[in-house]
């Protein structure tokens, strides 16, 4: 009974591979990245694109990116989390308390910190889902609450200071420490330095001792998130929940579970960043992560995520973070008067998104 219809279709024009690539939300943001890179290649001091210069702007970009990838997944799932910036400070405080005040080893302290963060994620998620309020307002409340609790907690832990220290000492010998702080591939870089491939200081140590671990985490997370989004059923549920929560629920997607899980992932990403920052700095204070929630969302949006949910990608957030990190740090390498920093930042952001949007439209032939 199935009726035969022709298999080829005269109504499809052939499409170049460039067009096909640029249609993907992952890749549109590359245009912006290229633009920004070209800009700095022209205007900035050549030190910016040496190995150490690249590491120097990739490191903050990676830290932002760890947040942005979580934020992007949540945005695709149709929700926001404005509390991730405060979560960086809060998780840092919890982690500090566990390591310094309770003296726990990392193998216990890290999972515990992440668990606490996940719990806050669950609270955010459940409140959003059960009250039906927009997540914007719910997580905004937690932006304040977590930031406030951090201050109170830090003062209680230190007996009056807003800074908790001694983390470097407390974690120094821990075998897990190299995974969360410092640089990776030190041996390789030392060898490269010896053979003269990379620059060294006068005393023979390489200028770049290795790849900062946050960059590896950043890349790893971007790949993992992309895998989940594009290659697993869970990814399909995330897109569906963000695209139309009602329709998704009607079709049998466990929307509530998906959203709660996403809130957990976002919070855990923030906590992971906190752990790395705290171990690197050796201290934490009440102002960590200030306004990082917005930078995370900015990076995700530069990377092509829609604020309305249901569309976006982790790779986009990846490039978005690099664009943002590059613009923020890059100006310091130029001759431009630093008072113009914010004008420049705003202008570059606008240019990058407009450019990548225009390119995508042109390529996909939308009108």
């Amino acid at each position: 009974m199935p009726v035969d219809t022709p298999l080829t279709d005269e109504r499809i024009r052939t499409e170049s591979w460039v067009a096909r690539l640029m249609k993907r939300p992952e890749l549109g943001s590359i245009a912006g990245l290229i633009l920004v890179t070209v800009f700095f290649l022209i205007t900035a001091n050549s030190a910016m694109f040496t190995l150490s210069g690249i590491m120097n702007f990739l490191s903050p970009a990676a830290q932002l990116g760890i947040l942005a990838i979580g934020a992007a997944m949540l945005m695709i799932g149709g929700e926001f989390d404005l509390s991730i910036g405060s979560m960086v400070a809060f998780a840092g405080m919890i982690f500090g308390a566990l390591v310094v005040n309770l003296g726990l080893p990392l193998i216990v302290a890290i999972p515990l910190t992440l668990a606490v963060a996940a719990l806050v994620g669950v609270v955010n998620g459940q409140l959003t889902i059960r009250t039906g309020l927009p997540s914007f307002i719910v997580t905004l409340a937690f932006l304040f609450i977590l930031r406030g609790l951090t201050l109170v907690g830090l003062k209680a832990l230190t007996g009056g200071s807003t800074q908790l220290r001694g983390l470097r000492e407390a974690t120094a010998g821990d075998m897990l420490a190299p995974f969360f702080s410092g640089e990776a591939f030190k041996g390789l870089f030392a060898a490269l330095a010896r053979s003269g491939v990379i620059d060294t200081f006068p005393n023979g140590t390489p200028k770049v001792p290795g790849i900062p671990v946050e960059i590896l985490w950043f890349v790893g997370l971007a790949l993992a998130a992309t895998w989940v989004l594009l290659r697993t059923p869970a990814g399909n549920w995330i897109f569906a929940s963000g695209g139309d929560a009602n329709a998704a629920a009607n079709a049998g997607v466990p929307v509530r579970k998906v959203k709660t899980a996403l809130f957990m992932v976002t919070a855990v990403c923030a906590a992971l960043l906190a752990i790395m920052q705290v171990m690197d700095a050796g201290s934490t204070d009440a102002r960590r992560g200030f306004q990082k929630e917005f930078e995370g969302i900015i990076a995700a949006v530069i990377g092509g995520c829609l604020l309305t949910g249901g569309y976006g990608s982790a790779i986009g957030a990846f490039f978005g973070s690099i664009i943002f990190g590059m613009v923020v740090i890059g100006l310091t390498y130029t001759q431009i008067d630093q008072d113009w920093f914010q004008v420049f930042l705003g202008g570059m952001l606008l240019l990058a998104v407009v450019f990548n949007n225009a390119i995508r439209k042109r390529v996909t032939g939308e009108r």
């Binding site: 022709p6 990814g235 569906a240 695209g243 139309d244 329709a247 249901g310």
Partner: protein
């Protein structure tokens, strides 16, 4: 009556101050096509949303295989073997046809950490099922938002049929369909019914209803007007019932009786 797969008794549903259903009783038996008919706003969609777990009835009982149940969500109903095509289709415009088709029930391959959405198989199944319905997809990764109205409806129907279990509910499935697609859907209903599935079919088209229906229940202003069995009722009578017994506009004659 005991052989009904699902039976809803005296269902009432209020939205704020609006009374959408005011005591509706309805059941579906295996292997039959039970048509639910009625005027616009009679409450048909509201009723089948209750049946598929999307809405909680304000009052009334739901019996599955004679046992009373409550659905806390559409997933419960699905687990009880109820597949539904909603009037608003429950599609995500930004997602591809395949992703919509398998939404919530993705085929996977690999195992453990490497368990993944089997895109190739999903695409194949999706294209194949659409072909069976008479739609030749340009590409399974086209976004649903760019499909025509009828193409979109066909995706929803093909999905429900593909996953359909014991009861298949179709809310005005043929409304946006072309001649060929309609005829395919009707014959699909026929085929599915012969496999022992109970079908609930909502339509405004008397001819479509009569072509496949075994029983006909008419809703009017939130209440059941009665149920007729195939052969006991003529097209004209049914049409009269559906219009709520009120006289039709004067053009009727030129339409040859049944619209």
């Amino acid at each position: 009556m005991t052989d009904a797969i699902i039976r809803l008794e005296e269902i009432r549903k209020h939205f704020g101050n609006v009374i959408a259903l005011n005591g509706v009783t309805f059941d579906v038996r295996p292997g039959e096509c039970h048509c639910l008919l009625g005027d616009n706003g009679a409450g048909k969609s509201t009723f089948i949303k209750t049946m598929s777990g999307v809405l909680k009835p304000t009052e009334g009982r739901i019996l599955i295989d004679g046992k009373e149940t409550t659905f806390s969500g559409p997933r419960d109903a699905q687990d009880a073997g109820i597949a539904t095509v909603f009037q608003d289709l429950a599609m995500i415009p930004l997602m591809s046809v395949t992703r919509n088709f398998f939404m919530g029930r993705e085929p996977t391959k690999g195992r453990g950490l490497f368990k993944r959405f089997d895109h190739r198989r999903a695409n194949e199944i999706c294209v194949e099922e659409m072909r069976k319905m008479g739609i030749n997809l340009r590409g399974p990764d086209q976004a649903v938002g760019t499909l025509s109205g009828g193409e979109r409806q066909t995706v929803a129907i093909a999905r429900a049929v593909h996953f359909g279990a014991r009861v298949l509910i179709l809310d005005e499935p043929t409304s946006a369909l072309g001649v060929r697609q309609t005829s395919n859907v009707l014959s699909t209903i026929d085929r599915v019914r012969r496999q022992g599935v109970g079908v609930v079919f909502i339509s405004h088209n008397v001819r479509h209803a009569l072509a496949v229906g075994d029983r006909f229940t008419v809703l009017n202003r939130g209440q059941t007007l009665g149920t007729a069995v195939r052969g006991q009722i003529s097209a004209a009578e049914l049409q009269d019932l559906m219009a709520g017994g009120q006289e039709l506009a004067e053009l009727e004659g030129s339409l040859g009786g049944t619209i």
